[in-house]
Symmetry: C2
Subunit: 293 residues, 2 copies
């Protein structure tokens, strides 16, 4: 189970071709074939069917392991590399769309900043592998609870902000006038699933504690990142949206009603590779220090 072999195997499985994988990895087809053969011999299992090239059931399993494994390996290397490298002169921030809290924006250094929007679940990996120096992620959690992040690598998470959650509904909706809604009142409602722009429904289900069982049916899926659009969709009756309260207001035809039960908040966290915390100077340290205070 040499990582090289795993890496090759993953590439072959992804591209469904030995030859294409060889091109991508800079090997000959022969070498790729030998890699896969070695892996199969090592595990005593066929991993791929040939013609067409597709993973066997055992191969599917291995893919799950291999992905995480290679990610961790890259993360370890990146983290250790940071030890040796000089403090960076620029700051590379990966952020999920809703994590760009004013407090975070205010803490950004004046120059040398690159800000990249990434899907929520790719932010931790970006920080771990060194693609980004710092990450800003959001999610929902119980008040003052940390977010549940996948542990790709030892990352230091710091609270940046917590805001109430709000349900966005059409101004004509019977609940629109309320000062607060309970989620239980809305289990039968149709929701907008907007993993990028809004709070992902899956996460809500996880935190709220419903097993796959009840509710949260999806009416429409929106794949963009614009919260105004999302609120407009909600105003137009395509389904309910869940947003941080500050982001939910001010859309014509829409009412934002705070979610009062269960007691959940929209939380933003700063993510730093643990190795990066040693840096005493530089924009990464500066950004981190400002957000911490």
């Amino acid at each position: 189970m040499d990582p090289h072999l795993l890496r090759t195997y993953v590439a072959v499985a992804r591209l469904a071709s030995f030859s294409d994988a060889a091109r991508e990895l800079g090997y000959t087809q022969s070498a790729v074939s030998q890699h896969v053969a070695a892996l199969e011999a090592d595990l005593g299992l066929p991993l791929l069917t040939r013609r067409p090239v597709a993973p066997t059931p055992a191969g599917e399993r291995l893919l799950e392991h291999a992905g995480a494994l290679l990610l961790r390996l890259d993360a370890a290397r990146a983290d250790l590399d940071r030890f040796a490298a000089a403090p960076r002169a620029t700051l590379n921030v990966a952020a999920s769309p809703l994590a760009l809290h004013p407090r975070a924006l205010a803490a950004l250094p004046a120059t040398g900043v690159t800000l990249r929007a990434l899907p929520r679940d790719r932010v931790p990996a970006a920080v771990a592998t060194g693609e980004a120096d710092a990450g800003l992620v959001d999610g929902i959690a119980a008040p003052s609870d940390p977010l549940r992040l996948p542990d790709i690598a030892p990352l230091a998470a710091t609270r940046v902000a917590e805001e109430p959650l709000a349900v966005v509904l059409p101004a004509t909706h019977p609940l629109a006038g309320r000062t607060g809604v309970r989620l239980d009142d809305l289990v039968d409602a149709r929701w907008l699933d907007a993993p990028a722009a809004g709070v992902p429904l899956g996460e809500l289900r996880a935190v709220h504690g419903g097993p796959a069982g009840r509710g949260f049916r999806t009416a429409l899926r929106y794949e963009g990142t614009d919260t105004r659009t999302l609120a407009a969709l909600a105003a137009d009756g395509h389904g309910l949206a869940l947003l941080p309260l500050p982001a939910a207001g001010g859309v014509p035809g829409a009412a934002a009603v705070p979610l009062v039960a269960p007691r959940l908040v929209h939380r933003t966290e700063l993510l730093l590779a643990a190795g990066a915390r040693r840096e005493a100077a530089g924009p990464v340290a500066e950004f981190s220090r400002r957000l911490r205070s």
Copy 2:
């Protein structure tokens, strides 16, 4: 960052000796020295001080990564090995002390069972690496929330049971007569820290959502696994204990008062390596099926 090198490095760091590590791994001292040198060259960093042998700061960092990495690697191998192997004839269960719920005991097959008690945090690893065929873990969580387990490998977790939590206090305690207590009433209290026998205070703090900030001072630490002893200590005024309600009752001089706020439960889960779920027959499948129904 070859896993072999990492494994050697970890052994050297743990044993604080090149020679001892060589003996343990079945290499010569020379080979071990070369391994460490190769790693240091690869990363461009010194990882160990010699005489005495101890990890440098960078080495410490690497240890964190390496541990998780090697664990995942072992888990992957074990998981794939299960694919090739014939269904096991015996059932090897790893369980944290409080996870031995009657429902779990009742589901055990009549013969061929080995039951091993393990600290809570080692159960997932035991299942992942194949040391155990199945695991029973407990912890505290919001009602019908899954436990937060470290993701060493893709493990399938199933709910086995949820029980109310109870605070165990001396019968003479002012709150002893209550039908329920709120945790907020007890932040100033002294607690028994019994990571093995009771619910770990750290976990409570995490779920309840206090950052390192307030409360949960420890009066006495008990490292055994016996809940009766723990309750007796609480009865004797050495501090408060937190136990699942069923385990908390019936101790002379002690009162068990259900915890009513925050709404948390003691939860037990069955852990199965995802690879093992394919087994249609055998004691592992039988055990799993009985607990699922």
